[in-house]
Symmetry: C2
Subunit: 346 residues, 2 copies
């Protein structure tokens, strides 16, 4: 390796790296309708049929810790995070391939357990496992899933379609997956000090499940279709609300006003945040891994869903501000200096 | 991790592992026409349009060695091995996604170099890079490519379609990639002992290129289409001729007779094999990474291609034998006890 290559990736971050490696990507195929830059790519092999393609790679030690992640849950989650990307296009998953790099410490039975989770997720989301690759590695376990999807008949939703005055909606509740991770990390440290102490985790069932066995919101996609609600833009919340809001703002070239007291939290999340002395807002904005959907709708479409508690309006699109602005209940602007989760730590 | 999980993967091997993890895969989508078990899966989103999906994962230390692999070549090869899987279905590639797990030692510039190779391969094979994922890893570099493809208008070729008396054809020549690897490994050892010695590799240009910058045989797919030759079965030679012949034999449920003196070798390959005292036949049967195509055709179709030197007939399908049987020029049966390349070493 040459010595004059020196810029550490952590110095520029993941998004800048992606910009650099994709800045001169050329399209040769007329079937490609949307390439790099959204939750999934769009390929059109026939007149009225758009195919969605997305991929996500999970690396041991970066995305999961085998000391506290049940292998079946890990397999399940590796599919779900990909299903979530397809849902984020207002579409449903159809087929997946799974590639896995297996360290020496993993036995046949352990790999089967991972695949039991993969196959259970495939069953729950009606995804066909159609291929993959298996290889050895001298390093950590790596699971790379590629997923295909198609529209349920509704319009696809990109990150770039938000319009001025659209309402910004979040599904379910946020922050739980991050707090679940904090509990698991805490128990890991206790276990290190004294292996005899058996952790009592029953009070944390909800938040642990949100971290270890998240679900993708295909129910939301089906519900929106039934109600004839067409999100003008959409993204899934994998890196944290802050990062996702910024993606929609940048892609749609419009500002966003968010009212922080409108951000939804489960009561278990509030309780654990208090216990751990963690700012709830930080868990939602920067925690990530909630796999809820963030989307925008017109005022007319908002009327159709406003009484359903799974949809929380948290703000609106506004051409009067630059980027994402947060406000408290008194209307005062709130500044938060923190970054979302990134695989590339300094 | 539980202690009662004990079967090492090397004990059962990759193909047995794949059988175990895919043995109860269920199909939920009527669009899935062919799942696990061929070079690519077939998905049919509209009446006359079949889409191909395949994926391959390359792991540093298993599939490549960064001490002698130029990064641009590595990126190029990671796409080509996937293009080869699509060609092996008698089809052409269209879109790809690339996921990469990046160790700390890799700088931004080095990753850009890998992507320069990826983008060059995309250009040469008219593949659109439509997405991917980037992450950090504490382990080796991992590149996972997923590729889509479509038929050029000809019939797709599966591994399972060979018919009794079909001629078995190999494109190009075999064994060179394996010998290239031996030269690189030899030079690596010399370099370890004395870093001042500059290797003189000009005599090995051809075989090194076959190892470091292989090409996929899209030219063959186009030629077969022009000649209206429809392979009854097809596979690409990635693990070694022996392994691929066995796949066709098993999938087609027919025996194969191979005449070893018909297996094609380049003169550079012959010369290096002699120099390194390596059995040419071993390099072809078990070396792998040649990325040539192995296919079967009817006698009528064979007439159309028999004068073109890129197609070498090496034997025929025969219901009179079980599995793959090798014969020398005198018609005597040849036994070779060796295994093809596998990622899972004991």
């Amino acid at each position: 390796m040459k010595k004059n290559y020196f810029t550490p990736i952590s110095q520029i971050g993941e998004f800048e790296l992606i910009k650099k490696i994709t800045n001169n990507v050329i399209s040769y195929q007329k079937t490609t309708k949307l390439g790099v830059g959204d939750d999934a790519a769009i390929v059109s092999f026939s007149k009225n049929k758009n195919l969605l393609v997305s991929t996500d790679m999970l690396v041991e030690g970066i995305h999961f810790d085998c000391t506290y992640t049940p292998l079946k849950h890990l397999g399940y989650k590796s599919v779900v995070v990909n299903v979530s990307d397809i849902c984020a296009m207002n579409a449903a998953p159809t087929q997946a391939t799974v590639s896995i790099a297996i360290p020496n410490k993993f036995s046949v039975e352990m790999i089967q357990e991972i695949y039991d989770g993969i196959k259970l997720a495939c069953k729950n989301y009606s995804v066909d496992l159609v291929g993959g690759d298996t290889t050895a590695t001298a390093g950590p376990l790596v699971i790379s899933v590629n997923i295909l999807g198609e529209s349920l008949g509704s319009k696809l939703s990109l990150r770039s379609g938000a319009q001025n005055n659209d309402i910004v909606i979040v599904t379910g509740s946020l922050g739980a997956a991050y707090l679940g991770l904090q509990i698991l990390e805490r128990e890991k440290l206790i276990f290190k000090d004294s292996a005899e102490v058996q952790p009592d985790l029953k009070n944390y069932k909800y938040i642990l499940e949100r971290q270890l066995k998240p679900e993708a919101r295909i129910d939301v996609i089906k519900n929106l279709k039934n109600l004839k609600v067409i999100p003008t833009s959409m993204i899934d919340i994998s890196d944290g609300l802050s990062s996702e809001l910024n993606h929609i703002s940048k892609s749609s070239n419009l500002g966003i006003k968010i009212f922080i007291d409108k951000i939804p939290f489960a009561k278990e999340t509030r309780k654990t945040a208090e216990e751990l002395n963690i700012d709830l807002l930080v868990s939602a904005l920067f925690g990530g891994e909630d796999y809820e959907l963030l989307f925008t709708v017109s005022l007319a479409d908002f009327e159709k869903i406003k009484n359903n508690p799974i949809y929380s309006p948290i703000g609106h699109i506004s051409k009067d501000v630059n980027g994402v602005k947060l406000y408290d209940s008194s209307g005062k602007s709130v500044e938060i200096n923190q970054n979302s989760w990134t695989a590339f730590q300094k």
